[in-house]
Structures are given as structure tokens and as C-alpha cells.
């Protein structure tokens, strides 16, 4: 038994400092992001969520230039991106896709510029892969309180507007008729999403953060129709995938090619997608049985 456990959990896994930090950060991030993901999927705003993360990459790479922590860069630019989408009309269903695409293009352009300047001026030539693909084992322990604070703020904001947000996500017209300020609620949601996405960028890198946002939530919504239940299932899937992902990344150091760990974000993404496919298959089977 212990031999099996040793084979799965390589020795030193739980005593290793960077691993402990990685586990803590990925658990908190998964909880926050997957909960917001449920609303993102219900609202049909997967594209916006992905775009905010990509735009966040511009912030992360810009932060390296000025010498502040990447989390603030991720957050500020994602917030600015959310504002820009709101302004160009990302809220209206007809023009939403195009508006999101335009803002995303401009944001990625900025990321290209900043990453270029990073390698030129700040001498950080590895910045491209760190910012875009993440490096969860390189997070310092001082970041944990910040991660928890930002995550708690995002969850509190969503909890405060939960009912009107859900109503306006399911039916915009009905919510407006009931006196919900749809535009304001949508804006607040985008702000919380920006915070969550910034956290997610830190854990899995900017362009992979969409996996934690969409995968667990979409899987959960295949299994249950109740939004509250979906949040719980989604959080469970996300936390499990990211912790197992960190574990596998740690183990992979001994896999081929020798002496070269596989990226944690790779495992996290693959696990969330597998969870979604399993949930989807399970849902269609039970539906057929019924």
C-alpha cells in the first residue's frame, strides 16, 4: 500500500516548500474561478472570460517592465479590458462577439509589445512563457495572503449581487422588468471576473486560465441544473484537477525527458477537460436512460 502511495506521491511532495505554496494557491484560485465560471457559462460569456485573461497577459508583462508583482498587472489590465468591453458594447448580445474580439486584439497587441520590451529592456527573456503558460512553483509565500484577499473580495462581490445577477443572466428582459439595473450588475460581474481571472493567470498562466474558468463549470452544469449545486460541483472538480495537476507536475520530474518537469498547467488543463468530457458523457447517458 505504502509502495503504491510512494509511486503516486513522489517522496518529499508534502515537505517541499514551493509545492505547499503551489497547492495552497491553486486550491484558492480554483475555488474562486470555478464559482465565477458557473455564472460565466450561464451568461454565455466564455469568450469574454478568455479575453480578459489574454488581456491580463499584457498587464502581467507590463508589470515586469515597471518592476511590480505580475498579479497587479494581470488585475489592472483585466479590469481595464472589462471596462473597454462594456464601453464598446460587449453587453449587447448582437455586437458582443465582435466587440470582445476587437478589445482582445488590441490587448494581445499590447502584450506583444510589453513582452518584446521585457526581453529587450528588463532582460527577462523567459517572460513570454512565464506570463503566458504560468509557473506555479515559482510563486513566493508572500503572495498567498494577497491571493486570498483578492479571491475573497471577488466572491463577496458575487455573493452580494447573486440573485439579481442570476436573474439577469437567465433573462435580461425579465430582470429589467423587475427593476434590476442590468447594466450595473453586468459591470460588477465583469469586475469580479477580472479579479478571478487575474488569480487564475497567476496559477496556470494567462492563456490557460480559461480552462479553470470554463471546464469545471461547463461540466457541472451538464450534471445539475441548479446553479447553487453547480457552483459546489464546479469548485470540487476545479480543486481536484488543480491539486492533482500540481502533484503530477511534481512527479513528472522523473519522467522522460529526464530531469525536466512537465508544466503543471498542462496537467491542470487536461484534467479539467477530461472532467468535462466525463460529465458530458454521463449526462447524455442518464438522459437517454430516462
Amino acid at each position: 500500500m505504502s509502495a503504491v502511495a510512494r509511486a503516486i506521491v513522489e517522496p518529499g511532495f508534502f515537505e517541499n516548500g514551493p509545492v505547499q505554496i503551489a497547492l495552497a494557491v491553486s486550491a484558492v484560485v480554483s475555488l474562486v474561478v470555478s464559482a465565477l465560471g458557473v455564472i460565466t457559462v450561464i451568461r454565455g460569456q466564455a469568450f469574454a472570460g478568455h479575453s480578459l485573461a489574454d488581456i491580463g497577459a499584457a498587464g502581467g508583462s507590463g508589470a515586469l517592465l515597471v518592476g511590480v508583482g505580475p498579479l497587479w498587472g494581470f488585475f489592472l489590465l483585466a479590469l481595464a479590458g472589462a471596462g473597454a468591453m462594456e464601453l464598446v458594447g460587449a453587453d449587447r448580445r448582437r455586437s458582443r462577439d465582435l466587440a470582445t474580439g476587437i478589445v482582445l486584439g488590441a490587448g494581445l497587441g499590447l502584450a506583444a509589445l510589453f513582452l518584446y520590451l521585457d526581453s529587450r529592456l528588463a532582460n527577462a527573456s523567459g517572460a513570454t512563457s512565464t506570463i503566458l503558460f504560468g509557473s506555479i512553483f515559482a510563486i513566493s509565500s508572500a503572495t498567498i495572503p494577497v491571493v486570498i484577499a483578492v479571491g475573497a473580495a471577488a466572491l463577496t462581490l458575487i455573493a452580494a449581487i447573486y440573485r439579481p445577477l442570476l436573474l439577469s443572466s437567465l433573462s435580461r428582459d425579465l430582470a429589467a422588468a423587475r427593476g434590476v439595473r442590468v447594466r450595473l450588475v453586468g459591470g460588477l460581474y465583469l469586475a469580479a471576473l477580472a479579479a478571478a481571472v487575474a488569480l487564475s493567470c497567476l496559477a496556470t498562466g494567462a492563456i490557460l486560465s480559461t480552462a479553470l474558468l470554463i471546464g469545471p463549470a461547463a461540466g457541472a452544469l451538464r450534471l445539475t441544473r441548479r446553479p447553487g449545486m453547480a457552483v459546489i460541483v464546479s469548485a470540487a472538480i476545479a480543486i481536484a484537477s488543480s491539486c492533482v495537476g500540481v502533484l503530477l507536475a511534481y512527479d513528472s520530474y522523473y519522467w522522460p525527458p529526464a530531469g525536466h518537469g512537465w508544466p503543471a498547467s498542462f496537467f491542470i488543463v487536461v484534467l479539467t477537460v477530461l472532467a468535462y468530457l466525463a460529465a458530458s458523457a454521463f449526462a447524455s447517458r442518464t438522459r437517454r436512460a430516462a
Binding site: 465582435l98 497587441g109 499590447l110
Partner: protein, 269 residues
């Protein structure tokens, strides 16, 4: 700016712009900006694996962007389109991240794959690129009417017996073809800007599909030419310029349309 190796760049970039303008018209019409972003962006896995396996980047991109297109079309029959796109995209990117980490070390190569490199077009790539361009033009010409119909009136199109899945797949394959030839110039991350900005601007300027197509191609060409000239002169990354110029083109188009509508209202009053 027009000497030697730069000539290749100008040719490939112009070919890419024409196709991006054409395909982009349908991207905007179908509201498929996310898919147009995902197929090229995910195909980075192809470029990375090409480096590892020692095959040409063009072949790697072709295979992966086609796989992405098929995965999106198939997944979208079971769940909502944006979720299918998001999951396909992250899966492909994750494989890309893994392969890039194996081929380790050379960071500038990763960068130019993602964001483009105007000095990276070799003579050997010229032939395949033009061939692919002609192939996609032929596909577009054949698909023009059913694609237009299914984009504007999906119900009518279904009623006429045009299968939604097949059309969606054909459309995504067009996006994949454009993706394949674009990497040496604009990079996987920003080709979609060209498929969104110029056609978006064209659509806000004219209602007629044919005029919008022509306008879209012209704006895309202007964007790319300006971006390459500026990248060459100012030594800036071409991806940055394409992304920002495409957004400016769209903003300009929207502004012009608003201005004209305002004037028309004044004239009527």
C-alpha cells in the same frame, strides 16, 4: 524595406491579408470571433511539435489547426458553441505549452511564433503559401452562397437541406487554412485581429455583402502594409502593430458610420 528577403514578407503578408479580409467577413457575420481566435492560437501546438519532430512548421500548423477545427465543430453539436471553442482552445494550448517546454530554451522562437516576425519568411515557404491561398479562395468561392445563407438566416438554410454541422466545419476549415500560412508573418496570436477588425469596420460602413467583402480586403491590406512598414522602420513587434491598427480601423469605421448617421439625421430635420 523592399529589398531581398523583405520581398517575401510583403508577398506573404498581402496574401494573408486578402484571405483574412475575405474569411473575416464571414467570421463577423457568423459571430465567430472566438473560433477565429481559437483555431490559430491553438495551432501553436503544431508549430511546436514541428520543431520537435523535424517536420516543416507549415505542415505542423496545418494538421493542428484542422484538428482544432474538427474538434470545435464536433463538440459544438453536444454543447454550446462558445464552450466547445473554449475547451478545444485550452486543450490545444496546453499541448503547445508542454511541447514548447520540451523543445526548451530558445525563448525568442516561442515569441515569434506567437506574435510574428517580419524577417522570418523564407523563399521555400512562398510556393506552399500561395498554393494554400489559391485552395482557400476556391473553397470560399464554392461556399460563398450557402455560407452567406447559413450565416444570415440559419433556419432557412436548414430548411433548404444545408447541414449546419457541415457548413460550420467547412467554415472552420477555411479559418484553419488561413491560419496555416500566416504564422511567419503575424503570429498565431494576432492573425484573428485581421479577421475581426477590418471586416468589422467594413460592415459598419456598408450594408451590401459584396461591397463589404471588397472593403474588408482593402482595409486588411492597408492594416498589414502599414504594420509591416512601421515594424521595419521603428523596430517594433509586428503583432503589436497589427493588433492595435486593426482595432483602430474598427474604431474608425464605427466613428465614420456614426458621424454619417448623425449628418443624415440633421439633413432630414
Amino acid at each position: 524595406m523592399f529589398s531581398g528577403f523583405m520581398v517575401n514578407t510583403w508577398i506573404v503578408a498581402s496574401v494573408v491579408a486578402v484571405l483574412a479580409g475575405l474569411v473575416g467577413f464571414f467570421v463577423v457575420l457568423r459571430g465567430a470571433a472566438f473560433a477565429a481566435h481559437a483555431v490559430p492560437n491553438g495551432s501553436i501546438a503544431g508549430a511546436a511539435s514541428a520543431g520537435l519532430l523535424g517536420i516543416s512548421v507549415l505542415a505542423g500548423l496545418a494538421v493542428f489547426s484542422l484538428l482544432g477545427a474538427i474538434a470545435i465543430a464536433v463538440l459544438a453539436t453536444r454543447d454550446r458553441h462558445d464552450i466547445a471553442v473554449a475547451l478545444t482552445l485550452v486543450l490545444m494550448l496546453a499541448v503547445g505549452a508542454l511541447l514548447l517546454s520540451f523543445s526548451s530554451g530558445y525563448a525568442p522562437a516561442t515569441y515569434s511564433l506567437l506574435f510574428g516576425e517580419i524577417l522570418g519568411v523564407s523563399r521555400a515557404e512562398l510556393g506552399p503559401t500561395v498554393g494554400l491561398a489559391l485552395a482557400s479562395l476556391a473553397v470560399l468561392a464554392v461556399l460563398y452562397r450557402p455560407l452567406l445563407l447559413s450565416s444570415v438566416l440559419p433556419e432557412v438554410s436548414e430548411a433548404r437541406g444545408i447541414a449546419a454541422l457541415r457548413i460550420d466545419l467547412c467554415f472552420l476549415v477555411c479559418v484553419a487554412l488561413v491560419t496555416t500560412m500566416t504564422v511567419p508573418v503575424v503570429g498565431t496570436t494576432l492573425i484573428f485581429s485581421l479577421m475581426v477588425g477590418p471586416p468589422g469596420a467594413a460592415r459598419s460602413l456598408t450594408k451590401s455583402p459584396a461591397a463589404a467583402l471588397v472593403l474588408s480586403v482593402m482595409i486588411a491590406l492597408a492594416t498589414v502594409w502599414l504594420a509591416i512598414a512601421a515594424a521595419y522602420d521603428l523596430d517594433l513587434p509586428v503583432g503589436f502593430l497589427v493588433g492595435v491598427l486593426a482595432a483602430c480601423a474598427y474604431a474608425g469605421g464605427r466613428g465614420w458610420a456614426t458621424l454619417r448617421r448623425g449628418r443624415a439625421a440633421v439633413a432630414r430635420a
